[in-house]
Amino acid sequence: MKTSLPKKLTKSLSFKQARAAVITGFVLGIGFSFIQITADMRSEIEQIDETFEQSLRAFEETAFQAAFGLDTELSQTVVNGLFQKQAIIEAEIIDSYGDVMFSRSRPPEERSLTWLADGLFGEVKSYSALLTDKNTGFQAGNLNIKVDTNVIAKAFFRRSGLILSFGIIRNVFLAVILTFLFHRMLTKPLRTLARLIHDGAQELPVPSSHHDDELGAIAAEYNQLSRSRAEAVERLEEEEVRFRRLFENSEVSLSNTDYSEVFRVLSKLRESGVTDLRRYLDDNEDVALNVFATIKILSVNNASLKLFEASSEGQLLKRARKTLGPLTIGMFKEQLCAIWDKRTAYRAETTFHTLTGNEVVGVISLPIPETEEGFRCIPVSILDITEFKNTETELTFRGEIIDGIGEGVQASRLSDGAIIYTNTVHDTMFGYEKGELIGKFVGVVNAPTEKTPEEVTAHIYGEIKAHGSWSGEVQNIRKDGSVFWCEVSATKFDHPVHGCLVVSVQTDVTEKKVTEEKLRQSQRLEAIGQLTGGVAHDFNNLLAVISGNQELLRDEISDPEQLKLIDASIGATKRGSDLTKSMLAFARQSRLAPENTNMNTLVQDTKSWIHRVLPDHINFVTSLSPDLWEVEIDRSAAESAVLNLIVNARDAMADGGQLSIVTENVDIERTAVGSLADELEPGQYVVVKVGDSGQGIPKEILSKVFEPFFTTKPAGEGSGLGLSMIQGFMRQSGGLVQVTSELNQGTEFTLYFKACRSTASAPKNVPASTLVDITAGARILVVEDNEEVLEIITMMLRRTGYSVATANTGDLAKAQLEVNADFDVLITDMVMPGETQGSDLAGHVASTYPEIPVIIMSGYTEIDSVQYQPSELAEPQTFHITKPVLRRELLSVIETALRPEV
């Protein structure tokens, strides 16, 4: 192989260096010469000016004398003297009158460089001297001269020519010398080295004369570089092997791809005026496919073959277009847009088709080169994420299920209690934004009770660590501070990333607990009521015996003292009867006499007696709705309830205050929420509110005020039955009583009475107890299981003059009637042993022996406990009377039954 060393001298380095040096020297020389000439010219001009100004000064005195004396001869002498200077071509003296005293001129010299002199110095230079008397300042005239610049420039041009000529000659000599020196010292050794390098010498000899200079250094550096290159080549080969192995064995699909045609197509599109590639590709669907076809895959690795299910690289390269699907085409358009926008890289997730038609999801990424050259080989990688996507979809599905279930789900780390997951229901339940609780301590949602949240968490975690799970109820706190109850079921769960977790399902059971509490309270009251009713029943029977005996005994006594004693005894029995009535009222077993009542009227009536109840320092106000609906209630019981509430209000305002009664109509909607909706049937109600501004009721006892025998009053001042009686009465009437209270603000009781629109029948009760006419000999069948009561009643009726038959049970009475139904009246107890209860018997008589009126007598109403039809009770021949019955009342009812027209 030939060397590339130059053959011609003009191509040699020494010549080039000498030429460069000479040209540089020449340019610099000329430049500096011009600077020197310019400086010389400036100096010359100054010198010229100085010379001619001196000449003028030399003649100035004489010229002044000539001008002052208007001496023409002397003027001529002066001008002629100035004309001795060859450069002066015009001179004149002008007197102070402006007249030219003497003037002389001659033509300028003609020279070859006149144009240059004119350019440098001007065509003519003029100088002038003002002829002035030094003492007086009198100006006698002017001395003017004009100078030919050609004469001035002559010497200057001569000097400049010499400077330039010597500069050029010097550079020529310098060029020759430098060329020789450069060739000997640089070019020749370099040519030697170049020849050696060309011949492939690994080691260059360093000439002895160049050991310490740059040539020696070049040779040494070459030798070092040569050794390093040999080592680098060796390492490169090893690296190539390693990278090839890595490329082939990579799990990621890798390919080297030629995009140069893509670059050219896009460049042409840009040149043709396309500005919006995305729109262009959308408008021309085939373009993307055609451009894709121009891509040349240079090489692929095994992962690529596996990804696209190709048997060989050739098969994949040949059928690469089959990997395109609609999604892939879209991705490729995006890729083209990225190249179009000159981004630095492109990365996207898309779905490819394998050569066998299966779909794979992959993340394709490639760098986008800055130059066209870079597009010739672009490394493209595709990461197969099909499995990951499937897993992600499955996890998303499961997550959606967990998120969508109606319970709050929470996962926390057992190690530190940090919450790592909550579902939407959980966050909503606790009043937090989605994900807001993540990372927070799990105890942050526990309400502080007698245990701190940390203690609650520690307890639950301890149980879970010990037994693997825990369930129970926890009092939680929402973000807004409201407290609620949750039923929690927590399980330990080992997570590969988070470690041991506690997964808990939380259900808001606050409402359930309230309902349960109400049910429990209701059951308790029911039990108390049943107990109370039973006691009252038995007590009534006792009282009935006592009362009957007392009345019979009174008939036998005529001593006033003894009568007084027996009357006191009868009065006590009556008060005992009243007490049992209260107990029955609480137990909702009072015998009520409903009638149409306007509560406004009831409240207005209250005003007539309330002043006797209220002290002067309590202000009584009412606010009554003018169109108040009527209610069907036992007016007497209602009055009793209102009185009870007024008395309680009075007692709550020992220091005075205001007692108010308000009436109004309300509609309880079917959709109403809260306790009203729970406890009242939807419909129209009349509300009576009795409020005071007293001390209020503490919260802890507010829920107990309706319990029987509960009182805050001193012993002997209250029975504890007032409010429980009101509650029993209201419930029995289909209504409700509610209480609200604020400490030191006051208390308000609200009575809900079911409104009625129809006119209720008048109470069919026992007429007023007055002296009655007795139908002597009337036949009466008395049915009573209590022997003592039966005996007393029988005795009482027989003494009155009735014919009395008895039966101990309903069954016996029914059998007796079947044998002989010749009775005018049937009196029966309500609750009796055997199958036939009082109501059954009454019903049987009403249907079988309708001519026989029935008087039902009971210690309590047994409405809830005895199953008989209300219609039966509504039979016109059926009467009710409550034990203990005074003789006068019993006889009155009997006579009423016997004589319905009365």
Partner: protein, 247 residues
Amino acid sequence: MRLNFSLTTLIAALLLPLGSVFAEPIKFATVDYVPYVLHDDVHGRQGFLADVNVAIAERAGISISDEVLPMARAMKNLERDVTDCIVFARTPWSEEKFQPVAKVLDRFDAAIFTRAGLSIVGVEDLNGKRLAIPRGSFSDSSISSDPNIERVVTNDYEQSVRLLKAGRVDAIAGSELSIFYYFSVEEMKREDIGSILTIIHASLWLHCAKGLLADDVVMKLRQATDALRSEGVFDRLVQRYIPADFS
């Protein structure tokens, strides 16, 4: 209207005297020749024409300024209305150019003065003789062009007189008053010289620029000059500068 006229007249009458009081001084010039003007005279004399100008001004009762100028500039000043009045020899040229106002002196002749022992009666008597003539003077005279006269050009009359006194020339030519003054300076007596041959007769006049001064001013100047001349004031002033032998 009548009132206005009377008022204007009154104001004019009041201002007229003030006009003379505050008027610019009349600009006189004196030709810078000895003894018409003397510089640094040991006797404190200003020069003959300077004295004349002062006398005229005082007699006329007007204020003047007096500027000493070379002859040519003095004439050109008067011609160009830079100077108002100058006293110099009356000639046809001066009559044409300026306004001759009044005669100052009859005796302003030019003459040839010979050395003692040389008597002449005419110019031709100078043939072969050395005649000192100041440069530029007598240019129109035959003595400047006569080839038979050996002319010695001097710088001024003073040099001519010294040459005559030293016997270096046979005769000198010049203004009588100037030559006489230098004779006195050189302390020469009448016997120290020969003949005196008047070659140009002239009188000395006060000239003013034409139309430059008001007529009444010119009139005052004329009257004053005439009066001074008739009173012999100017003759007496001449005698301050020339020896008694030549008065």
